[in-house]
């Protein structure tokens, strides 16, 4: 019995051989383009491969039209021509690092460069090159599609269903652990591992949904319901994190006396998760969930300080959100599994789109690819006899797009597989290829090499080795009907890649250093700068409508604060521990977790600020809240100017002092206004705002404590 790895390798190798065979028998030039299509679309399931193939074909077709249009418009002026080509590739690189159709934009970008450079600004030649590229890409995809459908077809449905079950189970487990944490029990060490496994399960679910929709009719038929479920699941992950971030301030409380139905609430949640898992196992639910609220016991509440009431108000609002979300999840799964009907149109999630927001990282990638192409182009124009000629620009586009959109991958990690692949392909080209005299021999060679590369680099982590191995092999052997052999082919290709990597290495330093610790500090400063902006908006009257510019600005900074902790986590892992022995990986991880908490809390305080407050309370406490906000603002400003240690003890003292002052002020205000005269909802909203401010301050003190223990000054030192 053959393993999946062997079967997949055989399928790719067979498709590669057949694609070459057809292209050669049709006397097409550059049959390697068909080989490329096979090499790049082959993925583990039919659905995944067909999705990628469709993106490649569509991308190629769009690129053909764009390339021909650019040649038609600017063939007479090479500077305008390269300006338009690089602008297009820059745009595609920006869109490629977005959330949707990444591969489509990738192909749209680099195929334009390949066609325009291959054609050499000659419109007749351009048309032939463009058609050839399109037909050979189509051939490669068609052959791979047929091979993958006819030989050992592997459907994503079972994998997808397993991924759904795994995700539901992990989120259930995460809920249980968080509930224990709220009650001061749980194991904190276990949480990190569970969170990353939940994240992995969610990523896998997202990937498999796209492919299962393509290769399984049953999933395709329910695609709207599955997408709704996908939205709910990702919202659940977010709400669980928000909920957890509100626990620190609750530790001194006896929650079961303030929240009398907490046990019942937990039992209900647990049961809902159980029932969801039961339905995923194709068993009808034993019971229907009913809406419930986490109640507050007014007598027990009266004995608490205002800040404890505030912490409770924040946690309660999160728990209630969790309740409505799990109910929707239950309904969604019972609809998918056919146990109940939900009006899908009414249940559609609110559209989160709100217009275009510029992403600085994606802009940087676009800027860098434009620069890379310009350097390669200027070398081609001004350096006579540059190795490879136009191949330098042609290869700069696909590899450059990959390099600039994955800045956290060190160039060295790409250079080594590239060198090994060139050497291997060179040896095959020099020593084996000249011995072959017919397609029989060539076919065996193509099959054997493709199989070996796919088999040796089968896991997703080895994708880079596989891509480089197949791409260099196909480029260097440059199979043609009139095959000729020249050592210069190998030597020139090797030189092209050396030149390209030199360009990438120089480019990586423009405009910022690519060293992970420097990037970390830069992103940290940006995080604080955006956080500072968001906090400063709390001073505005929430009833005043925002101008379009203000709204855009606010959304930009809210997005930055939401996304930057994740990016910081990614860069934090890349920091070389040997060079910075004073700071270990755990400290960096703790700092990133703290920033994530800060991000959630800023979100929470902004949300609470939008809720209606009683005018009397607002008048009484405006000055105090303003002072607090300004203090947070000033701290964030200092952090964004230089993200390093602040004296922790002084901060802790100031916070404790502010809390006790405010406690007294709130008491006075409530006495003056008369607590009975206040609307209960407005009081809860006020407590949520108060809890939000406290949460942000506590997270900032936590940041100061963590950063003081790290040697961030050392990260600022210059190094190679």
């Amino acid at each position: 019995m053959l393993s999946i790895r062997t079967k997949e390798s055989i399928k790719t190798a067979l498709a590669m051989t057949i694609a070459y065979g057809i292209a050669l028998s049709m006397e097409w030039d550059k049959p390697m383009w068909a080989g490329f299509a096979v090499a790049f679309v082959s993925l583990s399931t039919v659905g995944q491969s067909i999705n990628k193939a469709a993106l490649r074909v569509l991308g190629t077709l769009v690129a053909v039209v764009v390339a021909l249009a650019l040649i038609a418009l600017f063939a007479q002026d090479r500077w305008l021509f390269i300006l338009s080509v690089t602008a297009w590739v820059g745009l595609c690189t920006y869109l490629m690092s977005g959330p949707k159709y990444q591969y489509f934009w990738n192909v749209c970008g680099f195929v334009v460069v390949i066609i325009t450079m291959g054609a050499g600004a000659d419109s007749a030649n351009a048309f032939n090159v463009a058609m050839l590229r399109a037909q050979e890409t189509g051939l490669g995809i068609l052959v791979y599609g047929l091979v993958s459908v006819l030989i050992w077809p592997s459907n994503s449905r079972s994998d997808f269903e397993a991924a759904v079950v795994k995700l539901a189970a992990t989120q259930h487990q995460l809920y249980r652990v968080y509930y224990d944490l709220m009650n001061g029990k749980g194991d904190v060490a276990n949480v990190q591992a569970l969170r990353s496994s939940a994240l992995q399960a969610q990523t896998r679910f997202n990937q498999l949904l796209a492919s299962a929709q393509t290769d399984s009719y049953e999933v395709w038929e329910l695609r709207r319901q599955w997408r709704r479920y996908q939205g709910l699941v990702s919202e659940l992950a977010e709400v669980l994190e928000h909920w957890r971030e509100s626990f620190d301030e609750l530790q001194a409380l006896d929650l079961h006396s303030q929240l009398p139905n907490l046990t019942a609430f937990n039992a209900e949640m647990d049961r809902r998760f159980d029932q969801i898992e039961r339905m995923l196992g194709n068993q009808a639910p034993e019971w229907e969930p009913a809406a419930m609220d986490l109640d507050l016991d007014k007598t027990a509440l009266a004995q608490l300080s205002h800040f404890h009431k505030a912490a409770l108000a924040v946690t309660r609002s999160r728990a209630n959100r969790l309740e409505s979300l799990t109910r929707s999840l239950f309904d969604s799964i019972s609809d998918i599994k056919g146990f109940a009907q939900v009006d899908s149109a009414a249940a559609e999630l609110a559209d989160s789109k709100g217009g275009f927001i510029l992403d600085p990282e994606r802009m940087l990638s676009a800027f860098r690819i434009v620069l890379i192409l310009w350097i390669a182009w200027l070398l081609l124009v001004y350096v006579e006899g540059i190795p490879g000629g136009s191949l330098l620009v042609m290869m700069a586009a696909p590899i450059g797009m990959a390099v600039t959109t994955m800045p956290q991958v060190p160039l060295f990690k790409l250079f080594v597989p590239a060198v090994v692949s060139v050497l291997f392909a060179g040896l095959v080209y020099i020593f084996v290829m000249p011995q072959l005299s017919s397609f029989f021999g060539l076919g065996i060679l193509l099959f054997a090499v493709t199989f070996t590369i796919c088999y040796l680099f089968a896991s997703p982590q080895q994708m880079l080795g596989r891509v480089f191995g197949l791409a260099f092999f196909v480029v260097i052997i440059s199979v043609d009907n009139q095959q000729s052999y020249n050592f210069l082919t190998v030597a020139n290709t090797a030189m092209v890649f050396t030149l390209l990597f030199s360009i990438f290495a120089i480019n990586a330093y423009i405009p910022y250093s690519p060293l992970p610790e420097r990037v970390f500090l830069r992103l940290l400063a940006r995080f604080f700068s955006s956080a500072e902006y968001l906090i400063s908006t709390l001073g505005q009257d929430p009833r005043r409508p925002l101008t379009p510019g203000e709204r855009r600005h606010k959304r930009f900074h809210a997005r930055e604060v939401g996304l930057l902790p994740g990016k910081l986590g990614l860069w934090g892992k890349m920091i070389d521990q040997r060079l910075f022995p004073d700071t270990d990986a755990k400290q960096i991880q703790a700092l990133v977790t703290n920033l994530q908490a800060l991000s959630y809390r800023i979100n929470g305080v902004i949300e609470a600020r939008g809720l209606p407050l009683s005018d009397a309370m607002a008048q009484e406490l405006t000055q105090d809240m303003r002072q607090w906000r300004l203090a947070i603002d000033a701290f964030l400003q200092r952090c964004s100017a230089q993200p390093s240690a602040e004296p922790v003890q002084a901060l802790e003292q100031r916070l404790a002092q502010r809390l006790s002052q405010l406690e007294a002020r709130i008491n006075e205000s409530f006495e003056r206004i008369g607590e009975d005269r206040l609307n209960n909802e407005e009081v809860q909203n006020f407590y949520r705002l108060l809890g939000g401010f406290r949460g942000v301050s506590e997270a900032l003190v936590g940041y100061a404590r963590l950063s003081a223990a790290m040697n961030l000054a050392q990260w600022r030192e210059s190094r190679f």
Binding site: E717, S718, R719, F720
Partner: protein, 71 residues
Amino acid sequence: MFDYVPSEISIGGIYFPPLLLAGILGVVLAWLTAMVLNRYRLSRFFAYPPVVFIALAIIYTGLIGTLLIPV
């Protein structure tokens, strides 16, 4: 003092320019120097290490081209 006669280097009958070899060795030596400087935290005394790396690679290539492999 030195017999300064540049000659191509033959590897398996293929002739390579001496500058290529000197350049490769220059970059490798610059890279090793950078590693050592990083290891002992001496690179913090440079204002902009990437340019220093290029300068070192050129200096080493020049030295190798003058002393070891005539280019």
